[in-house]
Symmetry: C2
Subunit: 442 residues, 2 copies
Amino acid sequence: MTGDQRALTVGLLGLGVVGSGVVRLLHDHADEIAGRVGARLQVGPVAVRDRTKPRDVEAMHALHAAGATLTDDPSAVVGADGVDIVVEVMGGVDPARDLLLAALKSGQSVVTANKELIATHGAELLSAAQEQSVRLEYEAAVAGAIPIIKPMRESLAGDRVRKVLGILNGTTNYILTRMTEEGADLEPVLAEAQDLGYAEKPDPSADVDGHDAAAKAAILASLAFDAEVTRDQVFTEGIRDVTATDIAHAHRMGYVIKLLGIAEEVEVDGQRAIGVRVHPAWVPAEHPLASVREAFNAIFVQADAAGALMFYGRGAGSLPTASAVVGDVVPAARALLAGEQLPRVSVARKPIRPIDDAIVQYYVLLDVLDEAGVLAAVAATFGDHDVSIKSVWQEGEEDHAQLLLVTHAAREGNVQACAAALEELDVVRSVASLMRVEGREV
Amino acid sequence: MTGDQRALTVGLLGLGVVGSGVVRLLHDHADEIAGRVGARLQVGPVAVRDRTKPRDVEAMHALHAAGATLTDDPSAVVGADGVDIVVEVMGGVDPARDLLLAALKSGQSVVTANKELIATHGAELLSAAQEQSVRLEYEAAVAGAIPIIKPMRESLAGDRVRKVLGILNGTTNYILTRMTEEGADLEPVLAEAQDLGYAEKPDPSADVDGHDAAAKAAILASLAFDAEVTRDQVFTEGIRDVTATDIAHAHRMGYVIKLLGIAEEVEVDGQRAIGVRVHPAWVPAEHPLASVREAFNAIFVQADAAGALMFYGRGAGSLPTASAVVGDVVPAARALLAGEQLPRVSVARKPIRPIDDAIVQYYVLLDVLDEAGVLAAVAATFGDHDVSIKSVWQEGEEDHAQLLLVTHAAREGNVQACAAALEELDVVRSVASLMRVEGREV
């Protein structure tokens, strides 16, 4: 084995579940990693908020074996002499943002798992990294263990990505899988997910309302289209309104319901614009995303030359996320040894397409009166709003009737206006469900 | 946009379907690529065997626009002044091997799509690349457009891969998909695949007998386990013996049949050894590989920390393969601009586990006499060979009866000896099918 002569030091900010996993992997796989890097990676100082908090025993043993200090002073890591690579696994925007800016400015390479930070201040951090010609890596910030950042940035660098569809949140995919396979409604399954620790208690909003997926969608859109896209630009709807009835209807028509993060590049008035949104959608049962079950994540990419690609794996968890972090540390270490001077690359600001201008296909479920003329009134309303109907079914159930419609692709704003107008019709009791259809290009 | 000041030159060896795709992508996406590299990539001289052969019109236009020469002299590319990166898309071992060794020795970076060459002489080429500290990239050699080489080498560099299961050949996956969905036998579907150009005429052996998949399995095993594994070390069985009956039996028991390339690292006598094989296998219908249809490829990776990962996409075709080639050219170009000095990494020689020592689960179909004592005789034979039966079904059909058995995991050599002994039993007419079961770990 070569490379035992040299060593690089990896400092950590944070030592929670992911940080503990990182320390364990660097320790347990030290020999293989040395072979792959060409130098040993030494676990260096670890800065935490509260030194007295109980920690993962195996990680503490590994730290002890490495002679690494545990401190509550981040300056023992950030900008510290002899710390070559800073791994940030503390989470949150503050103080992570200031710490990482300081680390980059001092010439340290940075690896982070912090999706919130990258989705809000990614461009600022990347610019700081470029100024110092050091690396900023964040594979673990999107879809845990799944390699997606590097494939997007490197493997597809000669191609043009058109659209990205991702199952980016394991908790909601777990909930939708249980609802689908057990015919259950959201509430009991959510309670079960909270008991299993998949969803936060008491407030599961980050997962269920789509915020977590939205941060990841912003990062994917930035990468796919060489642009700066932030979390607040992502149109976001969660899964709270998805019912067992919706899932049953979808199933009967050959679809499953998934919470998708969607990023696409489109022409608007001759200009390229980016559309980015998170919402539940009907996905055809034969689409590769449809068979992604339980808490797994997957990202489906449509590129001009490569065609359809999909990346599948665990989106969260201590060791899967730690694997992605160490998978960023290794090339960062190799780059340091290689004396890499990074060329500057360009990131353009591109306009974001307003959600109302999105072109989408819809599934619409209406509770209607069971009388003559209903379909004519409904169809006229669709026509008035320039929304074309692809197929329609009517079914009676005791005292009320239901109309199920699938539209052709239509302008989002028109569909929403059409739905509002439908609510006003005398023959329509309510718009019981309104859901987008995705993944029909395959 | 930055980087317009500098340019790097990319020379090609070969201008067939893949080479034409590479030229078109470099031309059509020149501006985006310049933004991602930090310099413009100039298509340089292209060396072909026969200058008079008709070529792709769009590629010729792109060459003309770039002012690139088409020559039958490879020395205009290999070792030529001003050619920074050599793209080899000519295929075959000779003369590609000598040309690429010469290119690497002259300090050029090399990108190749040549699976045969890498699966037979990969270690020699990598060693030549390391001596000159230049890059040798071969993402396109395995599974076309699917990014798998870089994820294995980089993203999983901090992890330990245990097993790789891949659908590595699109033609056989297309044939098995048609057989499954139409209940057809191999012969008519193979003839159809040949007419569609999916399988070679008149000899479809490279695909159908598993040779193509075996070369890719050797490359994956090398990468997954930091070892030198060559094509001739891969145990290889093709799909010629798979029947519509096998597929129907598998379906009834919740399985599909796929041609898999399998690489695993195992302990043999306290030493690590590599098992690598290609053969048809039963895969559970709920396994992510089971839903990979038509000519798509997919690679399923089981790693200690990351858990299960899968990479899915098009395994062949002009533009998908060209996308992977250009996806290698871009980081190679960035590395040149960055003045990267590659650290030396270690590749160990590891023993290859003999196929007889593989531990596998089997599905066995026996044509037996319909009389008392058959099951007892069969069960005794399994017991004699230390193969434990997990489940068994008996069914009668007109004048003959069938026994279907699924074994527990057993030593391959024992199962083969058991099958030979079963053939000798008076009560057994024939061993109608003998097929391995994979993917039960999920």
